[in-house]
């Protein structure tokens, strides 16, 4: 999966919201990309675009989404439908609202299997039961017959996982898979995701607010701010050599316990929607200077580590200078 410079607009009556503004990344088989960023930065919109599921006014303005050599954006409706579930699957943020309240778990599960796999009735049932077992749901006969509201939050998220994994997709997109869950259950779901990915060798895109999730699962990390990936690199790059001021900001807002940095970003400031010519992070940046009136391009400051900031990489001397001034 390769995403090249996609831009997504939501045209409104008076103004158009540019939800995603030139995002590029790549995910290889068996690899996990974590995307982290605050609310409204365009994470979910990006994920939905990958599946061709953007809601009405939203549209992909430009860019390409290459999956197995084909541009998803150019596929027909039918082809996209066949891709979803079978090739790419998605786990949503809130497992309660993402499960149909009036259909049993078994019904929803067998529907996916019947859609994508050529199995007879008996085989479908067998596979559904195995799936429930593989996502760690014990009493699976009972679970098949239950309705979503009868399950706990963690169980629901496991059901969502089973639904997503039904047809053995090669890419799993998890949009904040743990946000709606309490902490212990979060850890269980993360472990489950990790194990399943290892077993199946899927590629995974994990969207989150939570550095803990990134640290546990991701091989590479994209930091998203206001529709842009402001920093993109390996997990080591991001945790040990963060280069963008925004990455610094959100990393430092995390409580540091021992050597691991885990926690949740709690900065939700109103994002200015005025399309500035300059860097969109500048209004909140403590290192901003006059060079920020020009939008920074993403630069590769070390192999595979991209940063969109004038002060990063070759300019880092200036950054150090400014930091010293501010200190």
């Amino acid at each position: 999966m390769r995403v090249e410079n996609i831009k997504i607009d939501f045209p409104g009556k008076n103004s158009t919201v540019r939800a995603v503004n030139g995002v590029s990344f790549a995910i290889k088989a068996g690899e996990t990309l974590g995307i982290i960023g605050e609310s409204g930065s365009g994470k979910s919109v990006t994920a939905l675009a990958l599946l061709g599921l953007l809601e009405k006014p939203g549209r992909v303005l430009e860019g390409r989404i290459i999956y197995k050599g084909r541009d998803v954006l150019l596929l027909s409706r039918k082809e996209k439908q066949r891709l979803r579930g079978r090739e790419m699957a998605m786990v949503f943020q809130d497992p309660l609202t993402s499960l149909n309240p009036v259909l049993t778990v078994g019904r929803q599960l067998t529907d996916v299997l019947r859609r994508h796999l050529e199995l007879n009735r008996h085989q479908t049932r067998e596979r559904a039961l195995r799936l429930l077992q593989s996502v760690g749901l014990g009493n699976h006969e009972g679970i098949m017959k239950s309705f979503p509201f009868q399950l706990s939050g963690g169980m629901r998220q496991r059901v969502m996982l089973a639904l997503a994994l039904g047809a053995n997709p090669s890419l799993l997109i998890a949009d904040e898979p743990t946000t709606a869950l309490d902490v212990t259950v979060q850890a269980q779901i993360i472990r489950e995701l990790h194990r399943l990915q290892q077993e199946k060798g899927m590629a995974m895109l994990v969207i989150t607010h939570n550095w803990g999730v990134v640290a546990e699962l991701a091989d590479r990390v994209g930091v998203m701010y206001n529709g842009r990936l402001v920093e993109y690199g390996s997990i080591v790059d991001i945790f040990n050599h963060p280069a963008h001021p925004y990455t610094h900001l959100i990393l430092s807002s995390v409580p540091v316990l021992g050597k691991g940095r885990k926690g949740i970003i709690n900065i939700h400031s109103p994002v200015s929607r005025v399309t500035l010519n300059g860097c969109s992070f500048a209004p909140r940046c403590m290192l901003k200077g006059k060079h920020c009136l020009k939008a920074p391009l993403s630069a590769e400051i070390s192999p595979g580590h991209f940063v969109a900031c004038h002060l990063a990489g070759i300019d880092s001397a200036i950054a150090v200078e400014r930091r010293r001034e501010l200190a």
Partner: protein
């Protein structure tokens, strides 16, 4: 469940008492003296003496509250009194007329469902396409045409111009068609619109997006994932607008001379036939409560959360 049903049936008692009490007093307030009308109807001069003796014969000489108590007492024994007009027992009159009304109600409901379900589904599925516009235009038309007007138009087209269908009376399926269409079309218009709106709302829910993300086909999503959820508010609305339906039946029965209880009630109003009206109101209140109960039960059947009970586990 059984408890719930028994409870609801017990609620019938205050409803029936209230309804009969109110009609009793309102009828008394209405202008026109049934005794005088009766005297005139028998071709006599309505002299004060004749009216007074007629009043005595009809039992109207007692004070109102006594009359009400007497009526309740008799009603409890299954005696709803005797029609001033026909001289038949009211219970018998109602029993004779009720099947026709039931037949018409079922036929128009069937017509309504056959029209509203496909219209609502297609309209939502092809949202904003010409099919949708067409169906919404038809629905707007249906919802804004008063029943009596549509009835007269249908009579004109099918009965007078084309001569295809009988416009009066009952007996055959052919007789049933026009009144059922008149009633069903107006209803279908309302429920097609409601179903469309409800479906579109449900189609915006997360679980629909999730179903799409699993690659399910749009038609399957609409029919298997959205429809059942979308039906819930429609069923609720149906329960609430039952009164309108009963009112509409009176009009349609009158236009098409359909021998149901609706037309009976209209005749009774003109004749100031108090016992028949009392009986009619009582029976309709009963029907109303029972149908409402059925509607609520079907809501429970559609909604597993109510059916299974039990709270949310965490």
């Amino acid at each position: 469940m059984a408890n719930y049903i028994i409870n609801r049936l017990l609620q019938l008692i205050p409803v029936l008492v209230g309804v009969s009490l109110i009609t009793f007093f309102i009828l008394n307030l209405a202008p026109g003296d049934p005794a005088e009308l009766m005297v005139r109807a028998s071709g006599m001069e309505p002299t004060p003496e004749a009216v007074a003796s007629m009043r005595e014969e009809l039992g109207l000489n007692y004070p109102l509250h006594v009359r009400y108590c007497l009526w309740v007492w008799h009603a409890l024994h299954g005696d709803l009194g005797v029609s001033y007009h026909s001289g038949l027992p009211v219970a018998r009159e109602l029993a004779l007329r009720f099947p026709a009304t039931l037949q018409l109600a079922l036929a128009s409901s069937l017509f309504m469902i056959l029209l509203a379900l496909p219209a609502g589904l297609l309209s939502a599925f092809y949202n904003r396409s010409y099919i949708d516009h067409l169906s919404r235009f038809a629905a707007l038309l249906g919802a804004s045409m008063p029943g009596y007007w549509l009835g007269l138009i249908l009579i004109y087209i099918f009965g007078v111009r084309l001569g295809l269908l009988p416009v009066m009376g009952s007996g055959t399926i052919k007789h049933l068609l026009l009144p059922a269409m008149t009633l069903g079309f107006g209803l279908a218009a309302v429920y097609a619109r409601l179903l469309r709106a409800s479906l579109l709302e449900v189609m915006g829910q997360d679980y629909i997006k999730a179903a799409r993300a699993r690659g399910l086909r749009e038609r399957r999503i609409m029919l298997a994932y959205a429809f059942k959820n979308a039906l819930l508010p429609v069923v609720t609305a149906f329960g609430m607008s039952l009164g309108h339906l009963l009112g509409g039946m009176v009009v349609v029965e009158t236009i098409f001379s359909w021998p149901g209880v609706g037309r009976l009630s209209v005749e009774a109003i003109f004749a100031r036939d108090y016992p028949v009206l009392q009986g009619y109101v009582l029976v309709m209140a009963l029907v109303f409560v029972v149908v409402n109960l059925l509607v609520d039960l079907s809501y429970v059947l559609l909604n597993p959360r109510l059916r299974i009970g039990g709270g949310e586990k965490r």
